[in-house]
């Protein structure tokens, strides 16, 4: 990868991190798990995700899903074209959860809410 592309990558990561932080003063939503979708590495059994694992899922979905437009920057080229860096977001995120019969159910989502719903994460209001 060229140095310029490395810099562009780092810039995109920086924008994503800024987006993750959310608007100044806004506390990020906390979620808790209601269904088991983690395969335990020790036992091979399904279990509920730990709070840290839930936070990791939410962080991933937040960084990859739709971003608030106000956190994104646009630039105008010499030809008049306007570009907007999507900050690492606006991706389709493919999730998987185990079905009752041992198969895996997949779902491609674009927002934190869609992903949380699919994985059985509910807002932790406590």
């Amino acid at each position: 990868m060229s140095r310029q592309r490395v810099l562009a990558t780092l810039a995109a990561i920086a924008v994503a991190i800024a987006a993750l932080a959310g608007p100044a003063g806004a506390a990020p939503k906390k979620f808790k798990a209601t269904r088991a979708f983690v395969v335990d590495k020790e036992t091979g059994a399904l279990r509920l995700p730990t709070p840290a694992e839930v936070d990791a899922v939410v962080t991933t979905l937040t960084s990859l899903g739709q971003q608030p437009a106000e956190t994104l920057t646009s630039t105008t080229t010499a030809t008049g074209a306007v570009g907007m860096d999507l900050g690492g977001g606006f991706a389709g995120v493919l999730l998987a959860r185990p079905s009752e019969d041992g198969t895996w159910e997949t779902r491609c989502v674009f927002t934190v809410e869609e992903g949380a719903d699919f994985l059985g994460l509910v807002e932790d209001v406590q």
């Binding site: 810099l7 962080t59 990859l64 074209a81 493919l94 198969t103 895996w104 159910e105 779902r107 674009f110």
Partner: protein, 560 residues
């Protein structure tokens, strides 16, 4: 995939012949560049030995991942045309639990040179293709991250068994990066930066009769949950729908009592008879079974039903949970149910009705069409069962499964919106299953266009074109000769017959046909005889005059 090219010899009777006017030659198959950003020893560079599988000849885990990526990219490359390489910044890395991977555009552009629509965002790879230049030469185009924690099938042959097929997943996610997604906020309805995009300009809310850019923000939020009433109305997709989607759109309708009568949102099953085979009109009866080790409640249907007499010939209502969908449907079938409804349990209370996979064992014993319902809808039914609830589970034969009455493909607009994946996918009621439904269904192939799929058609509608080396408007991968002779008149061995060189309707010209006959003939006599046969057919079909036939035959006779 077997070659679909046809012999030019077999095309002589086509009445579609026309004077061949080649279009401008296209740029050719898009070059995909996989930019491996994994560190040594990780992801694509994982040195763990791996046995070749399903045509994937890599000998390490990392090699096999990269080969699968390259294979998926090559499938798109063969069907998309661009002079600008498409750079996919890719890695396999440890992602959060439950997250298999993601892909999306890194940038969007509007108002670039040659933009088909002004004031409209385009994903960067598409914008580059349309502009004919790299609008952002310092950045990559698509960002792709996939999980090292998930056991994908890495073969290239689609024989994935119970595993998730990585190539199919990549085809799906790359399509999002290439332009199969929209950018308006589903939470607020706001357009990105106040501008529509190439995708949502073709989203039509059929309840309002308006396209998404014409809606207010509030209307867009509402539209995103208007199940069955949001369609993609691009002409390519609409034209291809009859070749892809089967007639008979499944429906679940409560007939009585009036308080809950109407159509319901539902999910479908990958086992049992198709909905409508047969259509069922019957009363809904709650299934009862023992609370035992197979399932702790009397509503879960995990054991043999204890009210078989009441269930027989009726629609069994079973609660989700504990055991698999196919187990429940099998138990209801054995009790004589005419159809089965499985509704979401408390753990899935807010979710949309699920698509129901087979477990590979019990599905074969399911004899009743099976659907899933939202929990709220099912509880409304349960509350009125004592007075009798009558319903239809069948098909509307006037509609194709996944399209509206005008053959416009439905996009996924579930209620509630958090049921998942709204708007940037096709509807889950589509039959056959489509690559760009929100779930990766196990019966998908690696074909991305009609008659197998509608993904390529949508990308074409938003601005992508197909590789067409000879400019005859036939995509190279279905052109009977992708390098047609396109001279205005038929010229054989340097001798101009003066006869117009017509197209024969499948990407071949008359000259192609004659040159193929020359190549196939074992001697001069055989060639002359073949030309006589071909030109006689052309004359009979009215494609040439007797004088033109003679000119071609005389010229062919001189070619020794």
């Amino acid at each position: 995939m077997p070659s679909r090219r046809r012999s030019p010899i077999g095309l002589v009777a086509l009445a579609l012949a026309s004077l061949f006017v080649p279009a401008a030659a296209t740029a050719g198959p898009a070059q995909f560049v996989i930019v491996n950003i994994n560190a040594p020893g990780i992801g694509f560079n994982d040195p763990t030995p791996a046995a070749p599988v399903g045509g994937n000849t890599g000998t390490t885990l990392g090699e096999q991942r990269l080969i699968a990526f390259t294979h998926a990219a090559s499938i798109w490359s063969a069907r998309l045309d661009s002079a600008v390489p498409i750079r996919i910044r890719a890695q396999f890395t440890s992602l959060a639990a439950g997250v298999l991977g993601s892909a999306g555009p890194i940038q969007v552009f509007r108002d670039f040179p040659n933009a088909p629509l002004t004031g409209t965002w385009y994903h960067v790879a598409l914008a580059n293709k349309l502009a004919g230049e790299d609008l952002s030469p310092l950045a990559d185009d698509i960002n792709a991250n996939f999980s090292t924690n998930f056991n994908f099938y890495l073969g290239l042959d689609g024989n994935h068994g119970a595993l998730n097929d990585l190539v199919t997943v990549l085809l799906h996610e790359f399509a999002h990066g290439l332009g199969f997604s929209q950018t308006a906020s589903l939470a607020t309805g706001a357009l990105l930066g106040g501008f529509p995009d190439h995708y949502n300009t073709k989203l039509l809310d059929t309840a309002l009769g308006l396209h998404w850019p014409q809606l207010t923000d509030a209307q867009r939020v509402e539209s995103a949950t208007r199940f069955g009433r949001v369609v993609f109305d691009g002409i390519g997709v609409t034209a291809a729908v009859p070749a892809v989607l089967s007639l008979g759109s499944p429906t679940v309708e409560v007939n009585s009592p009036a308080a809950i009568a109407g159509g319901y949102q539902f999910g479908t099953a990958a086992f049992g008879p198709r909905i409508g085979n047969p259509s069922v009109t019957a009363n809904i009866v709650a299934a009862a079974d023992a609370a035992d080790v197979a399932g702790p409640s009397t509503t879960d249907g995990c054991s043999a039903l204890t009210n078989a007499a009441a269930i027989a010939g009726q629609i069994a209502l079973v609660e989700r949970g504990t055991c698999g969908f196919a187990v429940k449907a099998r138990n209801a079938s054995q009790a004589g149910a005419a159809a089965v409804i499985i509704y979401n349990n408390v753990a899935n209370a807010g979710a949309a009705p699920p698509g129901m996979a087979d477990d590979g064992v019990n599905g074969a014993f399911v004899t009743a069409p099976t659907v899933s319902l939202r929990r709220a809808d099912a509880l409304a039914i349960v509350g009125l069962l004592a007075g009798g609830v009558n319903a239809d589970i069948g098909v509307d034969l006037s509609l194709r499964a996944g399209a509206d009455a005008l053959n416009r493909a439905r996009v996924y607009a579930p209620f509630p919106v958090v049921g998942g994946s709204s708007i940037s996918h096709y509807d889950t009621v589509a039959s056959r299953n489509l690559l760009m439904e929100p779930a990766i269904n196990p019966d998908l192939t690696h074909n991305v266009k009609a008659p197998f799929d509608l993904t390529w058609e949508l990308l074409h509608d938003v601005g992508w074109t197909f590789p067409d080396a000879d400019g005859d408007t036939f995509p190279d991968d279905e052109d009977c000769n992708p390098a047609s002779n396109v001279q205005p008149t038929i010229v054989l061995n340097g001798r101009n017959t003066g006869v117009p060189n017509r197209g024969l309707g499948a990407g071949c010209t008359m000259t192609d046909t004659l040159l193929a006959a020359k190549a196939a003939a074992s001697n001069h006599g055989g060639f002359v005889s073949a030309v006589a046969h071909i030109t006689n057919e052309w004359k009979t079909a009215g494609l040439i005059t007797a004088q033109q036939r003679a000119a071609i035959q005389v010229t062919a006779a001189k070619w020794q």
